[in-house]
């Protein structure tokens, strides 16, 4: 049905012959031979709208000039982009576009990266327009976005992006003719998820970010291509700085796993790193108060206390907790520090909150600790099953892949979510769902079982699987037989018919991807539900088929890396089992030191042991259990009993406030390393600014 086609057509562009896949637009074919046809409204992400009329070209045997952005290349087509006629047409369209433009380049933030400015230079555009220009008042779309509609070229890229890519529809053109201006849709202020897409996609200075107003010209900025520090999607971002100040974050069109799209956190959230409340110096608790100290004082203090406790209580009196926001290198070092220097497997990371459930399920069913699918497979899927994701909020860019699959390529979307479809300007994935089941997070398991029962009962079990694994199939069949539709309906509120219908859609898919989000992974029985989801894929013969698979979504940017680096009690680096003798031998060979024998305590166990006085010292890196865990775990009280609590942090969090020593950490903007995103891509992190204060990350961990 779609996108990848092997058929090609041959055409010539300015005499250069080129073969392109069938369906390629002339403007793209021209790009391939190195001809950039000027344009405003065309954007590879958007459906052609052909409204700016800038990209006119001559096509042989066509009477009029054609817009190359909407003309599909055909066999034998001869296109000319550099004739006098074409040049004059471009110049005349530019003259029209400039007619009502205020020419306020000196005060426009787009200056230096503006398509209109560039083309005006290219065509040495002059205007004969001497009439009155139309004037709009400057408006603010919230504290984040400024609109200056006098500069607008009405290409509607922002409106189309908001609808076609984001599925938000927060923007609309209001008014007619020259008086058309882009406004929020409806008579209310802009109310959307603030992905910043409209700012990024505007070819001129009509929509700009207020976070970086009037501060720079693009050539004054230093750029660093790095990876976003928020969610597990692992978006490539370009951080732009001036004199060690974070000015702007954006992402080049087509760049990275996100192909240039960003979310509110990625686009507008960068100033977290330069927030004034950053911890900039080591702090030591003296007389109950955290006071500023030097690194030497702090490290000596930590070393002395650690040695004292280790001598008195042994290595099992320590625990370590690290955030999945750290780089792979830091995670690896930390677990090695805990296992060799301290000598304990009492070790955990933020992957414990949920991501580990998905990884462990994948390990036990398919023997991998990574997805067997990629973002591309999500886009190409014809059936997508989302369970407990709330994906547009937790993993917005993976959400865009789902939206693309559904909106652009007509994939069938099935959702089991705790959210109801709602018409609003915040995108909600269940709005796009063909079949949506809304259940409480506690009932995700029951809903998945209902689906499993429908698959088995309606004979959607793949015949090969039935032959190859008869015992497994009969075991599953017996297990789901014990469930009654009445019970399932009672707990989920979903009828048998709905399950049957959903099962039929699922079984009808050729490329099926099941995504599990944090709401499911963090719920009770998250691990078991993941197994059942893989049962669904396995039974329908879709677990091992090309483009099919199970995809648990990582919440934090490097949760996946935390598991892979062995920053969890039960796993060694490479996600090897701690209890596996071969794996232990392998690691021992590399480390040339013996591993601690005792099985490690996980996060909750460590807190219990601290409460019981068994764990005396805790190293915490970038993690805030007091803030994250529910109060009934007694985490605050337990940490209060510790003899030594060392926190390495960006901010003085609830946990850090209890620490004996706080060491300033460097944020992802200030260090080099790698992050592994939710689909398992290891990507380079590059420093954009120097470490803030004394938070020199190289010295942050005793080695």
């Amino acid at each position: 049905m779609r996108k990848t086609t092997t058929e090609t057509v041959r055409l010539t562009i300015d005499g250069i012959s080129i073969s392109v896949p069938k369906g390629t637009l002339v403007i793209e074919a021209a790009r391939l031979v190195g001809v950039m046809v000027p344009h405003f409204c065309y954007h590879p992400k958007l459906k052609p709208d052909a409204n700016c009329r800038m990209c006119l070209v001559e096509v042989e045997r066509m009477p009029k000039l054609q817009t190359s952005c909407s003309t599909v290349a055909t066999e034998g087509m001869a296109v000319r982009t550099a004739t006098t006629v074409v040049h004059n047409a471009h110049k005349s369209v530019l003259e029209f576009i400039l007619a009502n433009h205020p020419l306020d380049c000196p005060v426009c933030d787009q200056g230096g990266k503006c398509d209109l400015q560039d083309f005006s230079h290219q065509y040495t555009a002059t205007s004969r327009f001497e009439e009155t220009k139309r004037i709009f008042q400057k408006e603010y779309f919230s504290p984040l976005i400024e609109t200056q509609m006098n500069r607008c070229v009405q290409c509607l890229r922002c409106v189309r992006y908001c609808d076609e890519v984001m599925d938000v529809k927060a923007l609309a053109p209001i008014g007619r003719g020259t008086m058309t201006e882009i406004k929020s849709f409806g008579a209310h202020p802009l109310d959307c998820e603030f992905c910043g897409g409209c700012v990024q996609i505007c070819p001129v200075g009509a929509i700009t970010s207020r976070l970086s107003m009037y501060e720079y010209r693009p050539w004054m900025l230093k750029r660093a291509d790095t990876v976003c520090m928020f969610c597990g999607d692992g978006c490539q971002i370009t951080v732009q700085t001036k004199d060690q100040e974070l000015i702007e974050v954006n992402s080049a069109q087509g760049a990275g796993r996100n192909s240039g799209d960003l979310c509110a956190r990625g686009f507008f959230g960068f100033r977290a790193a330069s927030h004034p409340s950053r911890v900039t110096h080591p702090l030591i608790r003296r007389n109950g108060v955290l006071v500023q100290a030097t690194w030497e004082e702090a490290l000596v203090f930590v070393a002395e206390q650690t040695n004292r406790l280790k001598l008195a209580h042994g290595p099992q009196a320590f625990g370590g907790l690290i955030s999945g926001r750290c780089t792979n290198e830091e995670l690896y070092l930390f677990q090695k520090f805990m296992r060799l220097t301290i000598g304990t497997n009492n070790l955990d990371s933020s992957a414990r909150y949920g991501h580990i459930n998905g990884v462990q399920a994948m390990r036990s069913v398919q023997g991998t600790h990574r997805w067997t699918v990629t973002f591309e497979d999500i886009v190409q899927a014809d059936v997508l099953l989302l369970v407990g994701t709330n994906i547009t909020e937790t993993n917005p860019i993976t959400g865009l892949k789902v939206k693309e699959a559904v909106k652009k390529y007509d994939a069938t979307l099935l959702t089991i979510e705790a959210i109801q479809p709602a018409v609003g300007t915040i995108s909600n994935i269940s709005n796009l769902s063909q079949q949506h089941v809304c259940v409480a997070p506690s009932q995700f398991g029951a809903a998945v079982l209902g689906l499993l029962k429908a698959i088995v009962e309606d004979n959607h079990v793949d015949s090969t699987i039935r032959q190859r694994m008869p015992d497994y199939v009969s075991a599953v069949s017996q297990a789901v037989e014990r469930l009654t539709w009445d019970d399932l309906a009672l707990s989920t509120g979903v009828s048998r018919e709905s399950f049957v219908q959903m099962a039929a859609s699922l079984a009808g898919g050729r490329r099926v991807v099941a995504l599990a989000g944090q709401t499911l992974l963090r719920s009770q029985g998250g691990y078991g539900i993941c197994l059942n989801l893989m049962d669904l894929l396995l039974l329908t013969g879709r677990l091992t088929a090309q483009g099919c698979g199970f995809a648990p979504l990582a919440e934090e940017n490097n949760d996946q890396g935390a598991v892979e680096m062995g920053a969890v009690a039960a796993l060694l680096p490479g996600a090897l089992d701690l209890t596996d003798q071969d794996a232990r031998a392998q690691i021992t060979r590399v480390w040339k030191e013996d591993l601690p024998l005792a099985e490690g305590a996980t996060l909750i166990e460590m807190i219990d042991r601290a409460q019981a006085g068994i764990i005396k010292g805790l190293f915490v890196v970038g993690e805030n259990p007091v803030g994250s865990l529910p109060p009934q775990t007694g985490v605050k009280e337990a940490l209060g009993k510790l003899d030594l609590l060392v926190c390495q942090e960006l901010f003085l969090t609830e946990t850090a406030a209890l620490a004996h020593v706080v060491l300033p950490a460097a944020s992802a903007m200030e260090k080099a390393g790698t992050f592994t995103n939710t689909e398992g891509h290891v990507q380079a992190v590059r420093p954009a600014i120097n470490p803030v204060g004394r938070s020199a990350h190289r010295r942050s961990l005793p080695q």
């Binding site: 009329r53 009029k64 005349s92 369209v93 003259e95 576009i97 007619r176």
Partner: protein, 434 residues
């Protein structure tokens, strides 16, 4: 005055004819539907229309049967018929009369078209200001539904057609067929770029035919009296049948006149519309709505068919003939039309959006005697830069008044500008003396 047989306006010219179902049936209405439904296959109806040579009455004059034939043949799923009743072209008022005075004639045409193309749903997109027309159509649809002509199992032949009236919201551009479809879908009425054409990707991305009201009104007559009869009227083979011409302006009897295609402008204006209103002679006329270039008295013997008018450098368009007598300020008239196009430019594409604002401002200056000689060159340049570079035909339409008046009455522009320049010199004088 030559008498021509009335076809479309025949019923309503009968004294006492109310346009009710009863009156329409008594005048032989719905016989065409009875003749074909269940008896003639849909392709047969399309064949009749092809053979009749009927061409679209909305403006472009595209052959109706051919348009129907562009629908994918073996398509499974809904197809739509959209009736373009968004008559907004200045100087055009024929559809309004057809709707208000004989609505069932249109409904029968719609039913025949739906039968031919296999559509179960027809939408009448009616201009928002036609409040009365919309009300009359609603009533007529209700009557026809009760009588079993509209709805499911029409005339017991198992055919379903539902007809809905949708009122526009006051945008000229929504008369452009793709903008009409966008508006009907509940979106902003902006033209789509073509291809794909509505025949394959129309309303809700389904195969769609968009036909003008007058086009549809011809269908019952073609079916009842046969395509050969229809093809013999007018100036065959290319322009068959009659047209309802809307004559307005400086004539004695402005109004709608149905005449066979191929009569001359002279006959239409001087014999049917009663000639000029005073002893002033004719100076200019617009032959086919505001989008058509102006013609001069030299063109009075041009025949009213598509080809002849095109050959004279204008277009038959919507059939709105606006007559201007000697003494009319042509530049002002062109400005007046330009004001309309400026107001109605939807703003989707740059040349039309920016060009209309530019043209109208320049024209205003010239009329206000603030023009300069180089403005004339700029006007021509701008018009050429708009023409052929826009998303829809609006671009061609908006430059027509200026281009044609500059062609035929350039001296009037020059006079205005010379007056302006003379006035400016006087104004400048004190500064020079000082």
């Amino acid at each position: 005055m030559p008498k021509h047989e009335l076809i479309l306006l025949k019923n309503m010219m009968e004294p006492g004819y109310t346009g009710s179902l009863h009156d329409y049936e008594r005048a032989g209405g719905y016989q065409a539907l009875r003749k074909v439904v269940g008896k003639v296959p849909p392709a047969g109806v399309t064949g009749m229309v092809m053979k009749s040579g009927l061409r679209g009455r909305g403006g472009a004059g595209f052959p109706t049967g051919l348009k129907w034939n562009f629908l994918p043949k073996d398509y499974i799923g809904p197809k739509y018929l959209c009736c373009n009743a968004d008559e907004s072209e200045p100087g055009t008022f024929k559809d309004r009369q057809l709707i208000e005075r004989d609505p069932h004639q249109i409904l029968e045409g719609i039913l025949l078209a739906c039968y031919a193309i296999g559509s179960e749903t027809a939408y009448i997109y009616i201009r928002g200001e036609f409040v009365l027309g919309a009300k009359i159509l609603e009533q007529a649809i209700a009557e026809a539904r009760t009588a079993g002509y509209i709805g499911s199992n029409i005339l017991g032949a198992g055919i379903t057609v539902n007809v809905w009236v949708h009122r526009g919201a006051g945008a000229y551009i929504c008369g452009e067929e793709t903008a009409l479809l966008e508006s009907l879908e509940g979106k902003r009425g902006l033209p789509r770029f073509k291809p794909p054409f509505p025949a394959t990707n129309g309303l809700y991305n389904k195969p769609t035919v968009v036909n003008n009201i007058e086009t549809l009104a011809n269908l019952p007559h073609i079916v009842v009296r046969g395509p050969e009869w229809f093809a013999s009227i007018g100036s065959p083979p290319k322009s068959t049948g009659t047209r309802v011409f809307c004559v307005s302006g400086h004539v004695k009897q402005p109004g709608n006149y149905e005449v066979p295609m191929g009569v001359t402008f002279r006959e239409l204006i001087y014999e049917h519309a009663g000639g000029m209103r005073s002893d002033k002679s004719l100076k200019a006329f617009i032959p086919g709505g505001a989008s058509a270039p102006f013609l001069t008295p030299n063109h009075l013997d041009v025949k009213l068919d598509f080809e002849s008018v095109a050959a004279a450098g204008s277009m038959l368009g919507s059939g709105g003939v606006t007559v201007m007598e000697e003494g009319t300020d042509i530049v002002w008239a062109a400005l007046r039309l330009m004001e309309f196009f400026y107001h109605e430019s939807c703003g989707k594409c740059s040349p039309c959006r920016e060009g209309s604002s530019w043209l109208v401002q320049t024209m205003r200056r010239i009329v206000a005697k603030r023009g300069r000689m180089e403005d004339l060159e700029t006007l021509v340049d701008l018009c050429k830069n708009i023409e052929g570079r826009t998303v829809c035909a609006f671009g061609e339409a908006e430059v027509a008044p200026i281009m044609s008046t500059l062609k035929h009455w350039r001296s009037e522009y020059v006079t205005l500008i010379q007056e302006a320049e003379a006035a400016n010199l006087i104004k400048l004088e004190p500064a020079v003396r000082h």
